[in-house]
Symmetry: C2
Subunit: 187 residues, 2 copies
């Protein structure tokens, strides 16, 4: 697990063994089973998660109890209810395992502490945050400019393996269409 986190960081910045030990001391490790919740709606969000293995969904349940998928989190992704995490407010989203999942967890205090103590990690977190911002802008544009069918094609192209791993109902929820509409698109 540790080795994967180090490789992931070293794609952006090179760090020594000593620096990596310092980085690691700011994280905790956790393992979850399929269907476990890492974040529950209405509760405090104490961690941002780096996904070592597995698959999770970040979901919003609307007033009618309908589930909407904000994103899927898989290997090498950083995920949280970022609004709740960064503003220390209660979670509006839930983070739940679709498969057994292993993560590294970091508190907001440790996140800013590590960024301040080790400028390389400050740079790494800045790059990750900007990448997250970019990915979100792309998804906003896809809602404005693409049909659900085009969004389906885009997801298939970017994450081909997801389609084997995901129940169709979750895919439909991510694309913002009904299960029936999805069947028509994918046939």
């Amino acid at each position: 697990m540790e080795d994967q986190l180090r490789k992931h960081i070293e794609k952006v910045v090179s760090i020594s063994d000593k620096e990596f030990a310092h980085v690691l001391s700011h994280f905790s490790k956790a393992s979850y089973k399929k269907n476990d919740f890492l974040i529950q709606r209405g509760e405090e969000v104490n961690h941002c998660y780096y996904v070592v293995s597995g698959l999770m969904k970040l979901v919003y349940d609307d007033v009618d109890g309908k589930e909407h998928i904000a994103s899927f989190a898989m290997k090498n992704w950083w995920e949280s209810d970022f609004t709740a995490y960064f503003t220390r407010s209660k979670a509006k989203l839930a983070l739940q395992c679709i498969e057994d999942t292993q993560v590294f967890c970091i508190t907001l205090g440790n996140y800013y502490k590590l960024a301040a103590e080790l400028p390389k990690m400050g740079h790494f977190f800045l790059e990750k945050s900007n990448a997250g911002h970019i990915a979100s802008q792309r998804r906003i544009l896809s809602f404005l400019t693409s049909s659900a069918k085009e969004r389906y094609g885009q997801l298939l192209k970017e994450h081909p393996t997801l389609f084997q791993r995901l129940p169709k109902t979750l895919l439909a929820s991510y694309l913002g269409v009904s299960r029936e509409t999805l069947s028509r698109m994918s046939s």
Copy 2:
């Protein structure tokens, strides 16, 4: 202008006169007239912009020439085609003035240089990037969970003055509805 940028930064971190002079040396200033382009589609994106005054739109023109609005940038906003800016690729979006606009401009090189040289500014940029990420996540959820009418109400609540400053066609484009649908919603 300088004073406004300093106040904006000091909402997050306190800086001395000397530090602010160092910050300023990484920015250039520019003024644009209504309808001027700061970013043109297909061109390089050399700057991220801090808006001192005025109003701009960040737009995507689809294959049919239809304009989609990714965001409006007003006083105290940071705006760019972030994908193009951070990945040094050609712009897919255009940034154009709706009103006369004054900005501070920073190159990507100076952005990372300033973040590295002055840890306080590293922290400031990290907070700004996280805030941008949060705002984008909120807009994604609004597409998944809200009707155009609800998105209209949300925009009205968050930015009431925008409604006096914006032509209705631009509002419709931001909400992802036709001009006619917007008229029905706002009547």
